[in-house]
């Protein structure tokens, strides 16, 4: 079971990449391991884990599921801004600024580095 789950996780980036946007909701396969995400992902997507680990989120232990939700049907490949409001509510509210029309947090804070603003304390 664990091997199957691992393979499914290993193939996930390919599946996600192949999936047409805005059609089937990408889901993280259920895994039977009760471990931290990075246990598998350090092997299957090491560049993502490294980028996260080196980021402020990585330093502060804001782990994968905070943005991406739980594995299984609740998984979100691209985090909605509702996952940001816990800590960055004022920044999310600033998206109402017409300047940011059509954008969300990740339009600027891209990848898993999510580099903070230089201005305003870097929330």
């Amino acid at each position: 079971m664990k091997t199957k789950a691992f393979l499914a996780v290993a193939l996930l980036p390919l599946l996600l990449a192949a999936a047409p946007p805005k059609k089937a909701k990408p889901a993280h396969p259920e895994v039977d391991a009760e471990e931290a995400c990075d246990v598998c992902h350090r092997e299957v997507t090491p560049e993502i884990v490294d980028a996260w680990y080196a980021s402020r989120h990585g330093l502060m232990n804001v782990k994968c599921f905070v943005c991406h939700g739980a594995i299984g049907p609740d998984f979100m490949r691209r985090a909605p801004v509702s996952r940001c409001v816990g800590c960055h509510n004022d920044k999310v509210q600033s998206l109402a600024n017409p300047f940011f029309k059509g954008k969300d947090c990740f339009s600027c804070h891209s990848g898993h580095e999510l580099n903070p603003h230089k201005m305003g304390g870097g929330q």
Partner: protein, 749 residues
């Protein structure tokens, strides 16, 4: 996309205006049927402010409170709080045990049974045949009602709680050194510190928002030094400029050796010592600075390093950084120091470093104990809900204090018993011995959290012991042992005050009605009081009624927060006591002239340690002593336990969150690669860990963050209980158990 600062500001102003016109939701303003209710996180003792989002009577989100000390941030557990309210393990109706099984009952049936069994035990065996066991998770009002009901109503001092397992040694440290409990500094000191000494604290995982504030300080002032003293290279050590790994239990030697360096290299503040410090040994402050110097002579860095298995030059470096003139130094610690048979001494030794260098009572210079539970400080320590305490610094053993409380509580003189009750471990041993017949457990999980827990689980299963558990969750490893389970309202479902690590009291407002048939603990306790014929002592209709009485109890003590009216707490984002008048802003730094209202304006010096009769804090001569049960030939490895960031305490809440149940849900045994190689195990294999008390099987995680010959096990897993293995030896002063160290053998399972 790139925009100029002007463009950004202009568009932000436009957005603000647009939001106002369009009615977009803000924290202060509800829209679309939503409301945002001001509250505090349910988890650790950091006490992060947050807003609870409610729509259609349900909690759908939380947001950090930007106006509170956490500046809008929450850790990952806090962010996922809404899920705990609707967990499938919520306890929704009362249950009583019939024919060995817990079955649904009405409130009246359950409470009638509880009252009858308590009355019977009191009549037959006396008031000391019943006991209360609470926690630092209960609201201040709830803990206050329980304390009053049991001590002044039932007339027993059998009142204990989880803080005995968690904070008692910190209390002992503050009281013996400064004469009064609780830290004198505040979180804001982090923003001023040049040096952090983190000892026995995995701040990054146990207090993530405090860790974040340290990181931000280090980013802002890159020359800030972080020293981490911990046998394991925890995530906290990521920001360490110096991480000292040492053999568990040898930190007393290291701390004395740091003092040796400070003294021998002239990094002390002679003037401060002359004005504010005295020296002592044992329980008497009868020593001199010269005696202290002579005492320290045996703690050269070389000798301490040899004992501790670390480098002498690292001890020297740590001391030099801490003591550098003109720099502000802040120490923080938690269970690594407290959960020890010499926990009070270890606390004293941290205070010593601040006192001999004068790095205390200044912005960024303070000895700051971090608390594990959200209201251990406010509810239990300050509220005096332990067996030797009365509210707000008063002691059971002090006749004047008893008389004062009898007057305030309106009970006849002599009502309060003069003999302190048993501490937690002693209390459960009295249950084991059949001396305590009825136990009321509120808002905590001793069936999992006690040390050597197998022994005390058996005690709770005695046929002649009647166990009542009021909890928001069922089953837990404690409710499964109960004769009656009472469904308690949880967090957002009730109102009350929490007091966090920095003396900040905050009101948690009710956001939604209780789930199912659950009731707030204070209502359940008042009901019990009425049924025991003690309703006149607990006549409260609302938590505000309780709070208003508490304000009269704290008045005139050094805690005095009588200026924190309910309405003021409703408006504020927390206030730090003392705050003796409604217009007092609260006190960031105690004992400091110009900040603490109890230091006279004309006091000639900058601080006054008024907790001590001579206004001097004590530097204690505390020799090195190892743990109660060091590894030996039969049990050759060190065993220690602790938290991971995803889970909190015994996991009854965090293990109900979808995201967290997959993340570090199973407690693992972390082993150093060399130990794993010796045992022939790899990550994912299983090991059996055996102590003199019990054995348990855990999955292995091989990691070089562990120290060789040390096995670390997570504490939150109810199916793999680390506390079957831990030792129940206690500190003779604080009575806090030595959860952090015992000897074990580890075998491949």
């Amino acid at each position: 996309m790139s925009i100029t600062r002007r463009e950004f500001l202009e568009s932000a102003a436009a957005a603000s205006a647009l939001a106002a016109l369009s009615g977009m939701p803000t924290l202060a303003q509800a829209a679309g049927g939503e409301k945002w209710v001001k509250s505090v996180c349910r988890y650790c003792g950091t006490g992060c402010g947050l807003y609870i989002g409610v729509k259609d009577g349900k909690v759908f989100a939380v947001r950090g409170d930007k106006d509170n000390h956490n500046q809008g941030f929450l850790c990952l557990k806090g962010f996922l709080l809404p899920q705990i309210l609707t967990a499938p393990t919520r306890c929704l109706y009362p249950m009583i045990r019939k024919d060995g099984k817990l079955v649904r009952a009405s409130w009246d049936e359950a409470m009638s049974l509880v009252a009858a069994r308590f009355k019977e035990a009191i009549e037959k065996y006396g008031p000391d045949a019943v006991a209360f066991y609470g926690s630092g998770q209960g609201l201040t009002e709830e803990t206050y009602v329980a304390n009053k009901l049991f001590k002044a109503g039932i007339r027993t001092n059998n009142v204990e709680g989880n803080p005995r397992l968690c904070m008692a040694s910190a209390v002992g440290g503050y009281v013996t050194t400064f004469g009064k409990d609780e830290p004198m500094g505040c979180y804001e000191d982090i923003d001023h510190a040049d040096v952090f000494l983190l000892v026995g604290s995995n701040t990054a995982e146990a207090h993530p928002i405090i860790f974040q504030r340290i990181v931000r300080r280090k980013e802002k002032a890159p020359r800030t030094k972080v020293i981490v003293l911990d046998p394991r290279r925890t995530p906290t050590a990521r920001i360490a400029d110096l991480h000292i790994s040492f053999k568990p239990g040898t930190d007393l030697a290291i701390l004395n050796a740091m003092a040796y360096v400070l003294v021998s290299e002239g990094l002390v503040d002679e003037e401060f010592i002359k004005s504010h410090v005295t020296f002592g040994e044992g329980t008497e402050a009868n020593k001199s600075f010269e005696d202290y110097k002579a005492f320290l002579a045996q703690y050269t860095p070389e000798k301490a390093a040899e004992l501790a298995g670390c480098k002498a030059e690292d001890i020297v470096t740590a001391a030099r950084w801490f003591g550098e003139k003109g720099k502000a130094s802040m120490s923080m610690w938690t269970m690594g120091l407290n959960q020890r048979t010499k926990g009070v001494w270890a606390n004293n030794l941290v205070h010593n470093l601040h006192l001999i260098t004068g790095k205390i009572g200044l912005p960024g210079s303070t000895p700051f104990s971090l608390t594990g539970q959200p209201n251990a400080c406010g509810g239990v320590r300050d509220g005096g809900a332990l067996s030797h305490l009365l509210p707000y610094g008063r002691l059971i053993a002090n006749e004047q204090h008893r008389k004062e409380m009898e007057r305030l509580w309106g009970v006849p003189e002599g009502t309060l018993k003069p003999k302190p009750g048993p501490s937690t471990v002693e209390m459960f041993q009295k249950i084991e011995a059949g001396e305590i017949k009825c136990l009321y457990i509120m808002c905590t999980n001793p069936g999992q959290s006690l040390p050597n827990v197998g022994r005390y689980r058996k005690a709770l299963q005695r046929e002649d012991v009647f166990v009542v558990v009021a909890d928001a969750f069922h089953p837990t490893r404690t409710t499964e042992l109960a004769d009656v389970v009472l469904p308690a309202a949880l967090w957002a479902e009730k109102e009350g005050v929490y007091g966090c690590s920095e003396r900040r009291y905050q009101l948690l407002e009710q956001a939604i009605p209780p789930s199912g048939e659950a009731r707030p603990d204070f209502e359940i306790l008042c009901d019990l009081g009425r049924r025991l014929g003690l309703g006149h002592l607990v006549p409260f209709k609302t938590p505000t009624d309780v709070w208003n009485e508490i304000l009269t109890i704290c008045k005139g003590t050094v805690y005095d927060f009588s200026g924190m009216t309910r309405e003021r707490l409703r408006q504020a984002h927390g206030i730090l006591w003392p705050a003796p008048t409604p217009d007092h802003p609260g006190t960031k730094r105690r004992y400091v002239k110009g900040e603490d209202p109890f230091v006279p304006a004309d006091w000639p010096q900058r601080v006054k340690f008024y907790g001590r009769p001579d206004n001097r804090a004590v530097v204690w001569l505390r020799p090195y002593k190892g743990p109660e049960e060091a590894p030996d030939a039969e049990y050759p490895m060190y065993y220690t336990t602790g938290r991971v960031i995803e889970h909190w305490h015994t996991g009854t809440m965090t293990r109900t969150c979808r995201e967290l149940v997959h993340a570090n849900a199973e407690a693992v045994a972390e082993l150093h690669p060399n130990d794993a190689a010796k045992l022939g195990v790899k990550t994912g294999d299983k090991v059996r860990i055996t102590s003199r008390r019990a054995s348990e099987v855990f999955k292995v995680k091989v990691t070089d963050t562990s120290r060789e010959n040390l096995v670390f096990v997570h504490m939150h897993d109810d199916q793999h209980m680390c506390n079957l293995v831990t030792i129940d030896a206690v500190d003779p002063i604080s009575k806090q158990p030595e959860f952090k160290i015992c000897g074990v053998k580890v075998e491949k399972a």
